[in-house]
């Protein structure tokens, strides 16, 4: 057997770079989270405060409301992406002329830099200059102003996320659909199952791994979103679209409350992991129920 020293030697550069750029900052974030460290405060340097930051976080209304905003955003965006993505994937699983063309165009938004996505949507919806508010007002007499109405801004970022990420869901679900075996479907039809039954008892359970992986990834990314929302609304109007990512950014940078920001980030990460795990278990449990 070859000496494992060569093996570790090959792995070493990767581990070294990951340790410095990934592990070190991560550990440092955990460390700072226990301190009271604000560059602009009266106290100089870092003061050890134990779990104080975490205690503050539980009662922090701004943080909690940003978490709520993020959840509302992620919930609507990811659900819509799945519904749309599934229908689109279903149509793509059969051949029709022009299929490749439509699929390629559909995948375009995935390649655009997130900040450019935000800029593009801002151009579209900016009150006074964008075609969307302009034409909505001119032809339909509908007021649409993301600078004044929080609900309009929230709707817009949800639409932007749907525009940006539905192709991802479509393509993964398509891959999942393509890899399903044919026999269960044929036996079901022979047994007289209708479309709804085939969908719930054969398609969904068969696609479960793909659905869960895609959902997990989309949820993770939706909860972390920053660039696009920042470019589109800056978190406004007021704090209507101030998602957690932006809120943490504002704590860490303009306010330089480093200790608090670090604790907040860790809590958000923990929250993300727990939430993803909860939904994962819930869906997996329902699947076990329905596979009879």
């Amino acid at each position: 057997m070859k000496s494992s020293r060569i093996g570790w030697g090959l792995l070493a550069p990767t581990l070294f770079i990951l340790a410095i750029t990934g592990l070190l900052p991560f550990l440092y974030v955990i460390y700072i989270g226990f301190f009271d460290w604000n560059v602009f405060s009266a106290k100089v340097g870092m003061v050890f405060r134990g779990g104080n930051n975490y205690r503050r976080l539980v009662f922090d209304k701004d943080f909690l409301s940003s978490l709520a905003t993020t959840l509302v955003f992620a919930g609507w965006a990811v659900t819509s992406q799945f519904v749309l993505g599934y229908f689109l994937a279903k149509t793509l699983s059969r051949n029709f002329p022009g299929k490749a063309f439509f699929r390629t165009i559909h995948a375009l938004p995935l390649m655009i830099a997130p900040i450019a996505v935000g800029a593009t949507w801002r151009l579209l919806t900016i009150p006074g200059f964008g075609p969307v508010p302009f034409d909505l007002d001119k032809w339909f007499h509908v007021t649409y102003n993301i600078g004044r109405f929080g609900s309009h801004a929230l709707l817009t970022i949800i639409l932007m996320d749907i525009w940006h990420w539905t192709p991802f869901v479509t393509l993964t679900l398509l891959a999942g659909l393509s890899s399903l075996p044919v026999e269960p479907f044929e036996s079901a039809v022979v047994d007289g199952a209708n479309r709804r039954q085939v969908f719930w008892y054969i398609t969904i359970p068969g696609m479960m791994p793909v659905i869960l992986t895609t959902f997990f990834i989309r949820m993770m990314d939706a909860l972390r979103i920053v660039d696009e929302v920042w470019m589109l609304t800056g978190g406004g109007p007021g704090s209507a679209t101030r998602v957690v990512g932006i809120h943490i950014w504002r704590i860490v940078f303009p306010k330089t409350d480093y200790g608090y920001g670090s604790a907040m980030s860790l809590l958000t990460l923990y929250f993300t992991i727990v939430l993803s795990w909860l939904v994962y278990t819930a869906i997996a449990a329902r699947r076990r129920q329905s596979v009879q």
């Binding site: 070859k2 581990l15 022009g98 995935l110 390649m111 200059f129 992986t213 990834i217 670090s262």
Partner: protein, 276 residues
């Protein structure tokens, strides 16, 4: 037949929805400041090329372009090399603890980015410092940093491929007197070439598009195109025409790559967990 019409209707609507924002962006990039103040019409007959010429002939912006190119290409090459050596090691040896290491790297992807800004900023400005030189505002800093985001996927994808290359081929080469480097270069690389290409392309696109870390960890010398984009938003107003032009320019490489690796993008985004 009615079902077919429904399918086409769905896709035509979807395509229009997908293309309209991009169409608008191109339109804005073709309009001068004066035209932009006018009402937003949907047709444009003239093309204000100045929006493209001004930034592209600006030496600062040209530096941003070059920086982005260097950072993206170097990172793609680095990730390809590291992923290749790392997955070969993981595939051919039983190395204890490697699973938990890579599970932890996935955790990095789950955390809000702002969390790592400060530690990385301190790391780049204070910790990694030799005299007056630090990692801050360097291209190499970003090249190394982006490995954190690109390596987990690269390793996940390549592991599957390299596991599929039978060890007999390695052993045959070694019997003929080949060193590890030769085995890698002559045996593994040719067989794993598609996978290596995919990881390189996806890493390239990620590095090219990245904004948050590039904006925080650079200031003048190593700035990239994406940060340049955000710089158009100033206190005195936003130059939308030029900003749209730059967005279009920054979109081009990604579009070219999209055409090349369309089928593999999904694998890239799901860490290859979906076999498709």
């Amino acid at each position: 037949m009615p079902a077919r019409i429904g399918v086409y209707a769905l896709w035509i609507v979807t395509t229009l929805f997908t293309l309209f924002p991009i169409y608008w962006m191109i339109l804005v990039s073709a309009r001068s400041r004066v035209e932009l103040f006018d009402s937003p019409t949907l047709i444009q007959t003239s093309f204000y090329v100045q929006n493209y010429i001004k930034p592209l002939t600006n030496p600062t912006f040209q530096r941003y372009l070059v920086n982005s190119l260097i950072i993206a290409s170097s990172n793609a090459a680095l990730v390809a090399f590291l992923a290749l050596t790392a997955t070969y090691a993981l595939s051919r040896w039983r190395l204890r603890g490697s699973d938990s290491i890579f599970f932890w790297t996935i955790t990095n992807r789950m955390a809000p980015p702002a969390a790592f800004m400060l530690p990385l900023f301190l790391l780049f400005t204070r910790v990694i410092k030799i005299g007056a030189w630090s990692l801050f505002d360097t291209r190499i800093g970003l090249i190394l940093l982006y490995c954190v985001f690109n390596l987990p996927f690269a390793i996940w994808l390549l592991k599957g491929i390299i596991d599929g290359i039978p060890t007999e081929l390695d052993e045959a080469a070694e019997v003929d007197g080949a060193s590890i480097a030769t085995v890698l270069w002559k045996v593994i690389v040719p067989l794993a070439a598609p996978g290596i290409a995919i990881t390189a392309v996806l890493s390239w696109v990620f590095a090219w598009n990245e904004y948050l870390f590039a904006a925080t960890l650079t200031s003048v010398r190593a700035r990239t195109v994406t940060t340049g984009l955000a710089e158009f938003v100033t206190v005195t107003g936003t130059n939308w025409g030029e900003m749209a032009a730059i967005s279009v320019v920054s979109l081009l490489p990604a579009l070219i790559f999209l055409a090349l690796v369309q089928r593999y993008i999904v694998m890239g985004l799901t860490f290859g967990a979906v076999k498709g």
